[in-house]
């Protein structure tokens, strides 16, 4: 019964991976046959270690991922608690709030680019109405990263919310009532009971979001293409440039592999450190 999955995985997943691993040891410029081509051992990897732009992109990606996931965790959690109230109308609002994650990232990028336009966009217009001076947003080197983070938070907080909400909903009620009766204040209940009990769900949501977040491409490409002055030049955008602007496919593959290894190391560290899979497995065993 595993066979079809295995076949698809091999044909569409493993084969391209193997191919790109091989290519990463080559100098390969399909755009320019007059360039040297062929097997060059680890030269691409060595180049990558000296590549300041790659380091820059990695740093930006780290900031982007940590702040975007962090912000959507906080907002998503707040929303999950908010929507856990039993009040009329909240069910509809809860459904409506899911819309951002359903919209095509391409369209999301274009729409926000329109709205963020410092001179013609509706956001600066609305801010102007309440007396806030207009901002550069995507065009400002200080705000561009923040702006793309805002968009990422906008689009994916609903996803985070959905997972966290499911978690909050499935929590047993009695420990909270115990805590209330045992004399704990609201804040203490939140920090001593809610948060620890939500831990596995939070870890899962963070893991899923982080893994998706580091790959974010479409929206940012539509909004800034890595600019201005490379202030939003995340790894995914840099990889796209190396592969599709410079057509340095071998180097692009090497960068991708290094990135993938780094990411895997981070994920494994996260899983080991947090005991996430272990606790899930324990749960399963019961």
């Amino acid at each position: 019964m595993l066979a079809p999955t295995f076949i698809v995985l091999t044909a569409v997943g493993i084969y391209p991976l193997g191919y790109s691993l091989w290519i990463s040891f080559n100098d390969y410029h399909p755009s320019n046959p007059s360039f040297p081509q062929g097997f060059i051992w680890f030269e691409n990897y060595l180049t990558a270690f000296l590549d300041g732009q790659a380091r820059h992109a990695l740093g930006l990606t780290a900031i982007f991922t940590v702040s975007s996931v962090g912000a959507s965790l906080v907002i998503g959690f707040a929303l999950a608690l908010l929507f856990n109230q039993r009040l009329p109308g909240l069910a509809i609002a809860r459904t409506l709030i899911l819309i951002p994650m359903l919209v095509t990232p391409i369209a999301v990028g274009i729409t926000w680019r329109i709205m963020f336009n410092p001179d013609l966009g509706v956001i600066n217009y609305l801010l102007g109405l309440i007396g806030i001076p207009s901002q550069g947003w995507l065009a400002s080197m200080n705000q561009s990263l923040l702006s793309v983070i805002v968009v990422d938070v906008w689009q994916w907080t609903p996803f985070m919310f959905l997972i966290l909400f499911a978690g909050v909903r499935s929590l047993p009620r009695s420990p909270f009532e115990s805590a209330a009766i045992d004399g704990a204040s609201r804040a203490k209940i939140f920090f001593l009971v809610t948060l620890p009990m939500m831990r596995p769900v939070i870890l899962l949501a963070v893991l899923l979001r982080a893994v998706d977040s580091v790959r974010t491409f479409d929206q940012i490409f539509m909004m800034t293409r890595g600019g201005p002055n490379q202030t939003t030049d995340l790894v995914s955008l840099y990889l796209q440039r190396v592969n599709f602007k410079f057509f340095d496919i071998g180097y692009g593959a090497a960068l991708s592999w290094l990135f993938l290894i780094l990411l895997m190391a981070a994920v494994i560290a996260f899983i080991r450190y947090s005991g996430f899979l272990r606790s899930a497995a324990e749960k399963e065993a019961r």
Binding site: S174, P175, E177, I181, D182, G183, P196, M197
Partner: protein, 368 residues
């Protein structure tokens, strides 16, 4: 500490879960709220705990109005049906939790938790987490957590219902011992009448949101105020038969021997209480039926015999109407004809419509 509730109401949307419940519970009492599921007993308890907002009414602890106090300000302890343990904390941390949020120093916390754990014989579990221990052990931990802080009032919401039958009995006696040792006012919710009888100093029977009778266990058993109470308490349940009070003279009921057992004077007494009412329900507890060897006037046939060791349930039929009797060991066999007798004082006659028991006078066990 005494607990007094006055005119408690709880409405959920259009549904009335608790309807004008008032009761006064004395200091040190073991008070049981008994009733079928959905009768409002748990809601009442939760309103006393402050976990549920009340629609109307007042809650007093001694003479202090705590109606609008948050649970944490009421100085109470509660044991939940599913124990309400913190799954992420070890047993000892669970027990210490109330002390921790109260700001008790760490050494003191450890000492007190250790003492309570000792008393409940769970000292060997302290390092484990709730998912790793059994239901009975969880129950003890929950009790320990409740006891550790010496609360003024002890609330228990069906604490034994998730345990298996044997454990339930042993925990029951244990709870009674622990609570009476501590002398803490306890309010205990259950749907199990045996549990209620065994534990309570007083029982309040609830049905459809109303408190229908309050009294000590034997009062409730012997003098059920309504048809509901009569049928809810006792196992096997009270035999009930449709009947009519045709006049001040005659109680008509099938099987006939029941009607015949009631004296004219007593029929009149019933009739005077409600002259206009025709339909009644006649009830008699199985153990109040005496089975005599058939001496000519046998009026019933044995249909089934269930020897339970201690006692025997005998299923009978008389005048085409089935009923059950409880006797000591017997040699009766299926098909035997027997003579069934009953004392007039053990026959309950209840209003078919309102359910009121005419055999119990208004001031009989129900107070003023």
């Amino acid at each position: 500490m005494g607990v007094r509730i006055e005119g408690l109401w709880k409405l959920f949307g259009g549904h009335t879960a608790v309807r004008d419940v008032s009761v006064e519970i004395e200091d040190g009492e073991f008070f049981v709220l008994l009733g079928p599921s959905g009768c409002g007993k748990t809601t009442t308890l939760r309103m006393i705990a402050g976990l549920e907002n009340l629609s109307a009414g007042r809650v007093f602890f001694d003479d202090e109005d705590v109606t609008f106090f948050e649970p944490r300000r009421r100085d109470i302890a509660m044991v939940f049906q599913d124990y309400g343990l913190y799954p992420h904390l070890s047993v000892v941390d669970n027990i210490m939790f109330p002390l921790k949020v109260a700001g008790v120093p760490k050494d003191e916390r450890r000492r007190r938790a250790g003492e309570v754990a000792e008393r409940l014989e769970i000292s060997s579990l302290l390092k484990r987490k709730p998912p790793q221990i059994s239901g009975g052990e969880k129950q003890r931990v929950a009790l320990a957590r409740a006891l550790v802080r010496n609360p003024k009032v002890f609330l228990m919401d069906e604490p034994l219902s998730n345990l298996d039958a044997k454990l339930r009995v042993s925990m029951r006696t244990e709870i009674k011992r622990l609570v009476s040792d501590a002398g803490i006012t306890t309010i205990y919710v259950t749907h199990d009448q045996i549990e209620a009888m065994a534990l309570a100093t007083r029982i309040a029977v609830m049905n459809q949101g109303e408190m229908v009778q309050v009294g000590n266990p034997l009062e409730i058993y012997d003098r059920p105020a309504t048809r509901f109470v009569a049928s809810f308490i006792g196992s096997p349940p009270m035999n009930m038969f449709d009947g009519r009070l045709n006049s001040a003279e005659e109680l008509e009921v099938v099987p006939r021997f029941l009607g015949e057992a009631v004296s004219r004077a007593r029929v009149r007494q019933f009739y005077e209480q409600a002259p206009s009412i025709g339909g009644v329900v006649v009830g008699v507890r199985p153990e109040h039926l005496r089975l005599g060897a058939s001496v000519g006037a046998s009026n019933a046939v044995v249909e089934l015999v269930e020897p339970l060791g201690q006692s025997t349930n005998v299923y009978l039929r008389a005048d085409a109407t089935p009923f059950v009797a409880v006797t000591n060991r017997t040699t009766l066999q299926v098909g035997d004809r027997v003579d069934v007798q009953v004392d007039e004082s053990n026959i309950h006659v209840m209003d078919k419509e309102t359910g009121r028991n005419f055999a119990v006078s208004p001031d009989d066990g129900l107070g003023a």
